[in-house]
């Protein structure tokens, strides 16, 4: 079983003026295969740092990441990444972007052509496969990014605010797509977001993080993602449980921010 375990991760950045920032302190977590976990938290809580450590772009100052009983020491094809934007290769067509992973692995076209075509179908870009990516809208570009990640068939997909740069309408549609892809492929997904609604809608598990030092504040198990697959997400949002949960989490983050503000004021007083 491809269990991803995050074991006692700490991350400390030294500043040039002699001080340091404790971006993460003793974060431990275990994610089972096929889980979709959303991560929420105010800026500076270390959620992107955590994701970069899991992806292997950063080495933690303490602790380790284990995937399938192997320690993560660098980036690898078994952990796919979807970025906010600007991570597509403009010099390649949509199809070449999506087939990048298999091509780099040295697979022959006949081995990946079917998968790539299928994925382009799933994300609704079959008619655009020969287009250049800069000719597509922001939402379409993120669909390409999703398809590119899936084409490589990773065990874990790490999403760093993948829908953050999209407009509200496109974003809603894309949320539905993410849920569908999750259900269809059964991938383990960690999704970082700024939007409480998105975190609630998409996260089977929801991790709320707190800043200074970056740590896990609260963890929830949510029913909405399972319920929402294939449904109109707006209906899910209208249910009273969803409203309650949203209020609960919003007020918690609100308190957290108040507390930070208070601490800062104390510190400066």
């Amino acid at each position: 079983m491809s269990t991803l375990s995050i074991e006692n991760i700490s991350m400390r950045f030294d500043l040039p003026n002699g001080g340091h920032v404790q971006a993460l302190q003793d974060v431990s977590l275990e994610i089972k295969t096929g889980e979709l976990m959303s991560v929420l938290g105010p800026s500076g809580c270390g959620k992107t740092t955590l994701l970069n450590i899991v992806a292997g772009f950063l080495a933690p100052t303490d602790g380790k990441i284990m995937l399938n009983d192997h320690q993560v020491t660098g980036p690898g094809a078994e952990r796919g990444m979807v970025f906010q934007q600007g991570a597509l290769f403009e010099w390649m067509s949509v199809r070449d972007n999506v087939s990048f992973g298999p091509r780099m692995a040295g697979k022959r076209e006949k081995d990946w052509a079917g998968t790539v075509d299928h994925l382009l179908d799933v994300v609704g870009l079959q008619g655009f496969k020969q287009k250049a990516v800069y000719e597509l809208s922001g939402g379409m570009q993120q669909r390409v990014a999703l398809a590119r990640c899936l084409a490589n068939d990773p065990d874990v997909i790490l999403m760093d605010e993948p829908l953050g740069a999209l407009d509200a309408l496109t974003r809603e549609k894309m949320q539905g797509l993410v849920l569908e892809l999750w259900k269809e492929t059964g991938k383990t997904i960690i999704l970082i977001t700024h939007s409480v609604e998105e975190a609630l809608l998409l996260g089977e598990r929801l991790l709320v993080m707190a800043p200074r030092p970056g740590r896990i504040h609260e963890e929830y198990r949510l029913p909405f993602a399972d319920d929402g697959v294939g449904k109109d997400l707006r209906k899910v949002k209208k249910t009273s449980e969803f409203g309650q949960k949203r209020e609960e989490i919003l007020s918690m983050i609100w308190d957290m921010e108040e507390e930070i503000m208070g601490r800062t004021e104390e510190a400066s007083a």
Partner: protein, 421 residues
Amino acid sequence: MTILIIYIAIFATAFFAVRFGVRKFRQMKDFTSLKTVTFGDESAVRPDRWASVISVITVFLLWGAFTGSTWVPIHAPGPFVGETEFTYTLEAPDGARDDATVYARVFKVGEDAEEPEVDPGEGFAKNDGIKVGAWRSELLIMDKNDEVKRKEGAKIVAIDGQPVSAGETVSVADGKVALTAKGSINFSPSGGMQMEPIWLPAPEAVVARVGEIASEGYQNFTLWEHLFWSLFRVIVGFIIGAAVGIPLGYAMGLSDWFRGWFDPIVEFMRPVPPLALIPLVIIWAGIGESGKIILLFLAALWIMTISARAGVSGVAISKVHAAYSLGASKWQLMRHVIVPNSLPEIFTGARVAMGVCWGTVVAAELVAAEKGAGMMVMVASRFQNTDIVIMGIILIGIIGYGIDILMRKAEAWLVPWKGRI
């Protein structure tokens, strides 16, 4: 001054003519024509093609009109050519005065002319005949044939009845007459407002030169050979510069050691104008091909290094991360991400480098060369072949412009995503 006023007048007239004449008949249906706010909206300012065409025609018209070109119907008044005359009044020491006429034949320089035959006439002052080239002047020792000489005390007191003394100038029918300090006559026929060919030849003379040099050559090489050699040096120098500079720039963008090692060298050499290296390169490599190519190599090298380095640093970290996450190796990252991502920067650098190289090669040829466009211009200027100089400048400009257009076309073809990310 006159030319500037005429130029401004044509500018203004053409503006009103196009604005209120042609504009009415032109159908403007694009989006910009619907904008009501155009003043201050830079995107609404597009070059008026009428203005561009009229502007170019105006330059050639003025050039033709002020050089007496046969291609242009209207001319500025040209220099006086033909027969003219003026009289001088000689005063003998005893106070007696006598008039004599000077017959002047003004001829076009380059044509043959005889001094006019003159009947000496009555009195102690005798008539004279002189020939003068247009735009030139002629000193007349008028008392050679007079009965009373200057050294005997005779002097000129009036020209065409206008009193004059030594050192003064008076106007006559077709020019000016100056009395020198020693009292002899200096006649300058009026030059009109046209430029003398030695300053600015007529357009047809320049075109004729193109034909002549293209077929017969100049300084042992035909026009095409001169231009070819200049271009050849630029292209070879640029290619070697790019072949060394781009990998060096990549190395500086990817490795600490290379960055540290070459940073001081690149940062020092970059602000040194390539022209400043000409003397050193001549000392080291002489004035032959190798010297030119070394110079152009150095001119292109730093520009290409810096643009390749900038191209590498310009790659978004998310693209690098994405490529590694998709399983790319370092080599694959280089080949599929870093190199294509740096192409727009490299093309910008290449355009700059080609421009600098073209300027540098012409300058280097001006200093010393056996062949080349710059050498042709420089040698022609020493022999006052202004038509060759002008022709050379125009061709150098056209080629420089052509290089830039080709580079832009190549850029649009090879890096269509530039500026669209």
